[in-house]
C-alpha cells in the first residue's frame, strides 16, 4: 500500500472539513464539518501507524481516543447549540455577533447565558459570588462578569 493514497485522501477530506467550517452557517453543519476534519486526522493516524508498524500501536490507540473525544465534543457542542437556540431562536453562527462593536452591528440581543457578557451599559449584577475588584466600570466589564459563569 502506498502511503500517499490515504494521505492525499486525508488531506482532501481535511480541506473539505475546513470549507465546511468556514462556509456553513448552521452550527450543526459546522459541527459535522469539524467531524470531517477529525476523521481526516484519524485516517492519518491509522495510516502512519500501519506504515511505521508501531509496536505500541500508538496511532490506532490515539485514533480511538480521538473518536472518544470527538463524541464528547459533539455532546458538549450540541448542548451549547441547544442553549444558544433556546436563547436566540437561531443557531446561525453569523448572526451571533456579540463579539462585534456595538455601533457597527445592529443591536442584537443579549449575551447568551454562559457565553460571556455582551451589553456594555449593563453593570454586572451584584451576584453573591461577585469577586472583589471590578476593574473597569465602563466598557466591557468583562472580568467581573465572567467570573460567575466560569464558576459553573
Amino acid at each position: 500500500m502506498h502511503v500517499v493514497y490515504p494521505l492525499v485522501v486525508s488531506a482532501l477530506l481535511f480541506s473539505i472539513g475546513v470549507y465546511g467550517v468556514l462556509a456553513r452557517r448552521n452550527a450543526i453543519l459546522v459541527l459535522m464539518s469539524v467531524e470531517l476534519m477529525l476523521n481526516a486526522v484519524n485516517l492519518n493516524l491509522v495510516v502512519f501507524d500501519v506504515w511505521l508498524r508501531d509496536r505500541l500501536h500508538g496511532g490506532q490507540v490515539l485514533t480511538l481516543f480521538v473518536i472518544v473525544i470527538a463524541a464528547a465534543e459533539v455532546g458538549l457542542g450540541l448542548a451549547i447549540v441547544l442553549s444558544v437556540f433556546r436563547n436566540r431562536r437561531t443557531i446561525d453562527v453569523d448572526r451571533l455577533r456579540d463579539l462585534s462593536e456595538r455601533d457597527l452591528m445592529s443591536p442584537t440581543t443579549a449575551g447568551p447565558p454562559g457565553s460571556g457578557p455582551s451589553g456594555p451599559p449593563t453593570p454586572p449584577d451584584a451576584g453573591p459570588a461577585a469577586p472583589g475588584p471590578r476593574p473597569a466600570p465602563s466598557g466591557s466589564g468583562s472580568a467581573g462578569a465572567l467570573d460567575p459563569s466560569e464558576a459553573g
Binding site: Q60, S83, G111
Partner: protein
Amino acid sequence: MTSQVPDLWPPSAQEVVFLLLGVVALGSALLVVTTRQLVHAALWLVVCFGALAGGYLVLTAEFVAWVQVLIYVGAIVVLLLFGIMLTRAPIGRSAGLDSGNRVTAATVAVGTAAVLVTVVVQGFATAYTPLEPGGGAAATLGASIFRSWVLPFEALSVLLLAALIGAIVLSRTDIRPANPAADAGGPAAPTTPPHPPDPAPPPADGSGATAGETGSGRVSRDGG
C-alpha cells in the same frame, strides 16, 4: 524498503479498493458541506464515515473500523440528527445554510488542500508498506491500551465525565435561578436586556438525566 517499492501507478488491488472508498468518502463529504438539506447532510455524513470505516478495514485496522462505525455512525450522527430536530431546523431544502463568505472559505480550503497535498506528495511519494493483517485486531489493541496507554485512558474517562456534567449543566433549564427573562420567551428575543451570565449553582446535582438527555446519555454510553 525502497528496493521492493512497486510503482505508484498502476495501483494494486488493495489500493484500488481503498481509492474507490476514498472517492466515496470524499464525494459524500463534499455533499455534506454543500447540500441544501440539513438532514441530508447528516445522512451523507453516515456514508462518508462508512466509507472511511471501509478504508480502515483495508488498512488492516479492524478494531478502529468497528469503533468508527459504532460511535460515529451509531452515536454521533444520531446525536447530530437529534440536534437538528431539537433546533427545529427546516426539513427539506433551505437556502440559508451557507454563509456570506463562501468564496473566501472555498479559497482557503483549496489553498489548504493544495498545500497539504503538495507537502504530502513531496514527503511521502516513495513511502510504501505491505499490508499485513492482524496489526489492528481487537486483542492487540486492547493489550496495548490496557498496558501501555492505561494512564491516558483513565484521564480520558475523567474527561468524559466532565463533558457529561457540562452537557447536563448546559442543556438543563430547570436549574437556573428564578429569572423570568432568562428563559427564552420572545420569538427572537431581540429586546431582552443583556443579562449577565447566571452564576450557575454547583453542578452535577445528579438529577440531570431527563433534561440533559441529548448529550449525557450518549456520551456516557460511549465513554464506557
